[in-house]
């Protein structure tokens, strides 16, 4: 109940600050449209027929970082307008406060993924036709967003101001994006780069989404491992954030 109350309030905040949706969508959409068109012919030589479709799962991760990052920004705004204090002194569990905001960030990420999906239809990207496969794609995207939402919330509590927060989020999101299989097949990476890409959990998330989208394949074990792994990491991020929120009152 508390979680739902906080979630509804966060949705209201997002609706009021609709500009955050446009801004956080801008960069992934530019990648989707411009980069895929530019790099598409070169990638065709590598055997990738539709580079926009190939790029889409990586951009799901990028859009999650953007959307959830702006969710973390909400904490700074709440601190500035005092409502952060009001909620912390209300009879609401700390976990519900964190979870409510995390779920809103996940919802926003999925909404932005849906917008990107509509745009990508103009570039002949095909999505799974069956509801089950489509739902699986959403679950995978949601799991990634859940982890990034938890990380964003915790980082926003750990850092003193918005400017440092923005810098830190960029410093996290860009390496996660570039050192993954977002832009090219992981199998093509060599040496240290290959090790780093394999250490990045988002590589496996992108791989599962890509297999589903490009080839309609579901590898049950791998997919289950990815979902469980991301849920586990998401829960750890949630607990870390809830701990930091509790710590706010132990100063």
């Amino acid at each position: 109940m508390d979680t739902l109350t906080i979630f509804r309030r966060a949705v209201g905040w997002r609706f009021h600050n609709r500009i955050t949706i446009a801004v956080t969508l801008l960069q992934p959409v530019l990648w989707l449209v411009l980069y895929s068109l530019t790099a598409g012919p070169a990638m065709k030589l590598q055997g990738i027929e539709n580079y926009t479709a190939f790029l889409f799962p990586g951009l799901v991760v990028l859009v999650s970082f953007s959307a959830c990052g702006s969710g973390g920004m909400m904490n700074y705004m709440m601190k500035a307008d005092g409502s952060f204090y009001r909620i912390l002194t209300a009879p609401v569990r700390r976990g519900s406060i964190v979870l409510g905001q995390m779920l809103e960030a996940v919802l926003c990420s999925l909404f932005e993924v849906a917008v990107m999906a509509v745009i990508s239809l103009f570039f002949s990207v095909k999505f799974p036709q069956t509801p089950g496969r489509l739902a699986l794609l959403l679950v995978l995207a949601g799991c990634g967003a859940f982890l990034t939402a938890g990380l964003s919330y915790g980082i926003s509590l750990a850092l003193p101001n918005e400017m440092i927060y923005e810098t830190a989020m960029n410093a996290l999101a860009l390496p996660v994006f570039f050192l993954s299989a977002a832009l090219f097949p992981a199998s093509q990476a060599q040496g240290v780069l290959s090790i780093l890409i394999r250490l990045n959990p988002f590589t496996y998330l992108i791989g599962s989404m890509r297999a589903l989208m490009l080839r309609g394949e579901i590898h049950p074990r791998e997919t289950a491992a990815v979902i469980l792994g991301f849920l586990l990491l998401g829960v750890l991020a949630f607990r870390w954030s809830a701990g930091l929120l509790e710590k706010e009152t132990r100063r």
């Binding site: 009021h16 002194t89 009879p91």
Partner: protein
């Protein structure tokens, strides 16, 4: 029964600032209790500890019989607070802010609606009901902030400088509301204020805090009697004139330490030859152009200044407002 008991509480912030230095006080159930103190005296820190937002470094704090550190969640369900900084969701309208508050405190929908209408009417917020909080004036936001705190009918209501930024009418309305809440629900109200009139008119008990410790605690009348002396007050037509003649008074009544406030010269009536009789004789002898002379009883302001200002006696000779 004590609604709040604070025993030897210290609070040191991570940056080393020692905000509370062994503060002790108790608040009776159902009373209006005012904390008075200069900026930095530790009032807001105390409120933040009482509302479970901060933890004390040492000492014991119980609210409604519950320890604020070990039983924070139980405490939070029985209290509400309007902080010094207005704490609204600026993107929500006034009515939406109230609905959100009602949900936070798990007030049933119909009951929440009834209380909301009651508070909107009592605080004169009808015309702002659907306006986003961000678009309201500071005074309206403040009224809404207090209305939100009252909405849950808390056992203890904390108000950190509630009248800051309010016009006279709103302030009087709020005072009436606070008295009504206390009467109707037996709510204990703890407020911090710089407004000595507010403390004097509204409170059953006043606690003056100085440098993180209690300097005095008692009813407004009891505190006024702390000074135990009346003041002689000679009024002039302007502050400049009063200051011009002050040296003559200092020379005539050196033991009584005359000082200027506004356009009047004050001194303690007790001690030496500083009573109203010698004062009248002096004024007539000197043929000073005074407007009036009277005996003044000490105000809350006098008590406050007496208890909070260092080297008061030295300052009195030069202090003007």
């Amino acid at each position: 029964m004590d609604a709040i008991r604070v025993t030897h509480v210290t609070k040191q912030y991570p940056n080393g600032v020692l905000a509370l230095k062994g503060l002790s006080l108790s608040v009776q159930t159902g009373e209006i209790f005012s904390l008075l103190g200069q900026n930095g005296a530790g009032k807001s820190t105390l409120i933040r500890i009482l509302t479970t937002y901060l933890r004390p470094t040492s000492g014991e704090v119980t609210v409604l019989g519950r320890d604020v550190v070990r039983e924070g969640a139980a405490v939070r369900s029985r209290i509400a607070c309007a902080a010094q900084q207005v704490s609204l969701d600026s993107h929500l309208s006034l009515a939406e802010n109230m609905r959100f508050q009602a949900r936070l405190y798990r007030i049933p929908k119909e009951e929440g609606k009834r209380r909301m209408e009651e508070l909107i009417s009592a605080f004169g917020l009808e015309e702002f009901r659907n306006r986003p909080a961000a678009a309201c004036s500071g005074g309206v936001k403040r009224r809404l902030d207090i209305a939100l705190a009252i909405l849950s009918h808390p056992g203890i209501l904390f108000l950190d400088e509630p009248s800051a930024g309010m016009d006279v009418r709103s302030r009087l309305t709020m005072w009436e509301m606070l008295k009504q809440i206390r009467k109707e629900f037996g709510t204990t109200i703890l407020l911090t204020t710089h407004d000595l009139e507010e403390a004097g008119c509204l409170s059953d008990t006043v606690c003056i805090i100085k440098d993180g410790r209690e300097a005095a605690q008692g009813s407004p009348e009891a505190l006024k009697s702390v000074l135990r002396r009346d003041m002689v007050c000679v009024q002039f037509s302007s502050g400049d004139e009063a200051r011009r003649y002050l040296p003559l008074f200092l020379e005539e009544f050196p033991q009584n330490k005359p000082f200027v406030r506004d356009r009047e010269i004050f001194w303690n009536a007790a001690g030496g030859d500083g009573g109203i009789g010698p004062a009248a004789a002096f004024l007539l002898r000197q043929r000073l152009p005074f407007v009036g002379v009277r005996i003044a009883r000490p105000s809350m302001e006098d008590v406050f200044l007496r208890l909070t200002q260092e080297e008061m006696r030295e300052e009195e000779t030069t202090w003007t407002r």
